[in-house]
Amino acid sequence: MKQVHRQWRRVLAATGALALAAGLLSGCSGGGGTPLLTWYAMPDNGGAGARAQQCADASGGAYRVRLETLPNDATQQREQLVRRLAAGDSSIDVVSVDVVYTAEFANAGFLRPYTTDEQARLTAGMLPAPVETGMWKNTLYAVPFKSNAQLLWYRKSLAAAADVDPTSAGFTWDEMIKAAVGQSKKISEQGARYEGYMVWINALVLSGGGQILENADAGRDARPDLQSRAGEKAAEIIGNLARSTAPADLSTAKEEQGRATFQSDDGMFMLNWPYVLAAARSAVKEGNLPQSVVDDIGWARYPRVFPDMPSAPPLGGANLGIGNYSKHPDEAVALVECVNTLEKATQYMLDEGEPSPYAASYDDPEVRENYPNADLIRDSIAHGGPRPLTPFYVDVAGSVIQTWHPPDSVNAETPARTDQFMADVLSGRRLL
């Protein structure tokens, strides 16, 4: 009998504790009338959180902000957000969305569209290319928070030895491969079976004047368009590079392996994001890299596919959307406007190394001091080519990566095979 009593008491105590905890939790979110905005942000070194706090303090009690950090990996970020938003999660007020998923979220009705008035205010002074990634059917659904563009990095001494000038206007992939093979050195590019490979393929196709989807707006009915002059040339370049001596470990290489190869004695060319320069500098500071290597690094616009056609550098970055189920959309817009001012974006570029979507950021003296290639980054973003803005991006990218991997299997028939496979996947006739 005693035993039973004690058990009952324990159950009661546990229930009481639970009730108390629930009360405390709800008390947290209720908090005295001031709306608490939740921002699902991408992980960084605290830059987003600090800016959100500044804005909350400056709002004069209009809102408070809580930061919810998303996973590291873009695929997992999307999975979490899709799950929450599909269930109508009203706790998502502001959300950071990778540029490639904005169309999908907008089409699904997950994001509250910005009004034309808000669009004008929020995107004033921004480069058009990143803004384009936040548009879906001529409406702004997500405003650029950070941007990015790949550059061509090269070792000046080796380029001189090969007698090529990567900064010259007409420098092409073919010339680059020839120069690297001639010097028995390496070209670092991302060819692993992941999104980075899609970034490369897309940039080649766009630089050649083509596109992966003919009418991305059409969603499921979009027509794949790789079987074209641009698509076939892209396949030729990737196949040639993969079967030459120039790549180190193309079929498994991601950004960081590429950077390691480029910094080694074998490195000659590298296609990579602007962070690599800062990373090389901090490697020098830590004593892992001689200063002479950093001094030898040059940069240029993404190489051309055809000599007479300007390249379309790969465009990256993230946008800020307003959750469609948010209970405080007006405050959320105010928060987005506040964290995304020119000054804050410029500071974010300095603190976190993520290029700003504002043209004027690159004229800032401190930015120019930290980024000797500031003008090139701005120019590359301005002419950057987005990956297909389609609600079925995961299927499109998946079909391309699956049929183009490993890179050394790519040949003249690959684009046609991709078109067929992608059309089948989009229409639900094949499993991805």
Binding site: R83, A108, F110, P391, V394, G398, R429, R430, L431, L432
Partner: protein
């Protein structure tokens, strides 16, 4: 009572249902299981029915407007697609290898646990510990052990830079190893329960009749624990057939190591392709039903007739 009724004679007369005791037992059983029966209906039958309905649609969570009824097209796509069959073969390989090895190892462990006199407690604990570890954690342990950069296995075996996860069969080998390590305790525990039920006097009788140790095993022990073996095999086979954690953590499905559960996960969660994903899930469910049916028929054991006191 002058005559002793055996169950078989009663069955032969066909009056088992009219026995008062059986009827009472049946009613009591029904009452006792009713609450869980209702809960089961709520938590399994409803989602299952919903999945069945969804599987007839071409439906993308992120494209609600594009939802359309396609009858059985999803199923047709799945069974004619190489992706499904590839995953099917992978799952089959993992299931056959792990269950076979685990059954042998499990028997050995069960015998040791039954017969050991000294140190019985510590031994049983030691055998059961792996089963207490969360599967994802054990998957990470094995992944790190075999990884190129942080692993010690390559160093121990002097394999240099061999990439275990870079090839289908070596990756499946590691996945199976981890699975066997983790779940052999489960199967041995079930077998131990079966072994303990084999009456000692039948063993002694066989011994008196001059049966060898092998004969006692095959003629006395194994037939007496048929139900336990079937339960162990059935549970483990179904578990292995639905394997997800190990391939997810170790390879992410690369190099043809994707399993059927993984495919369902990818369609449902990554691609949010709910129609196709539900169809894959239903197919997985059907394969599970087939496996269970084969076991129950193959062992000719009706678990509902295994009762105490008979």
């Amino acid at each position: 009572m002058t005559t002793v009724e055996t169950p078989s004679t009663r069955e032969a007369r066909g009056d088992i249902a009219t026995s008062d005791r059986a009827r009472g037992e049946r009613r009591l059983g029904l009452y006792l299981t009713l609450p869980s029966y209702i809960v089961m209906i709520l938590v399994t039958a409803y989602p299952l029915g919903y999945a069945l309905v969804l599987s007839l649609y071409n439906y993308r969570l992120t494209d609600p407007g594009g939802r359309s009824f396609v009858w059985l097209q999803n199923y047709w796509v799945i069974i004619t697609d190489p992706v499904w069959w590839n995953d099917f073969v992978t799952t089959l390989m993992i299931t056959v290898i792990t269950v076979a090895v685990e059954l042998l190892l499990g028997f050995w462990f069960a015998f040791v646990m039954l017969r050991i006199i000294r140190g019985r407690g510590p031994l049983r604990t030691a055998i059961l510990i792996p089963y207490g570890i969360v599967t994802v954690v054990s998957a990470f342990i094995w992944r790190y052990a075999f990884a190129i950069d942080s692993g010690f296995v390559n160093q121990w075996l002097a394999l240099g830079g061999f990439n275990w996860f870079g090839d289908r069969w070596s990756a499946i080998f590691v996945i199976c190893l981890s699975e066997i390590w983790k779940t052999t305790p489960f199967i041995s525990l079930l077998l131990l329960a079966g072994l303990a039920q084999v009456p000692e006097d039948t063993q002694e009788a066989a011994k008196v009749d001059g049966a060898t140790a092998w004969q006692r095993l095959y003629k006395v022990t194994l037939p007496n624990m048929k139900a336990a073996i079937m339960v162990a095999l059935l549970f483990r086979t179904l578990d292995a057939w639905r394997i997800f954690d190990n391939p997810f953590v170790m390879t992410g499905g690369a190099n043809n190591t994707e399993t059927i559960s993984f495919l369902a996960y990818r369609q449902n969660v990554t691609l949010v392709n709910l129609g196709m994903g539900s169809a894959v899930s239903v197919m997985l469910f059907l394969t599970v039903v087939v496996i269970a049916w084969i076991f129950v028929k193959g062992f000719k054991t009706d678990l509902s007739q295994v009762r105490g006191g008979q």
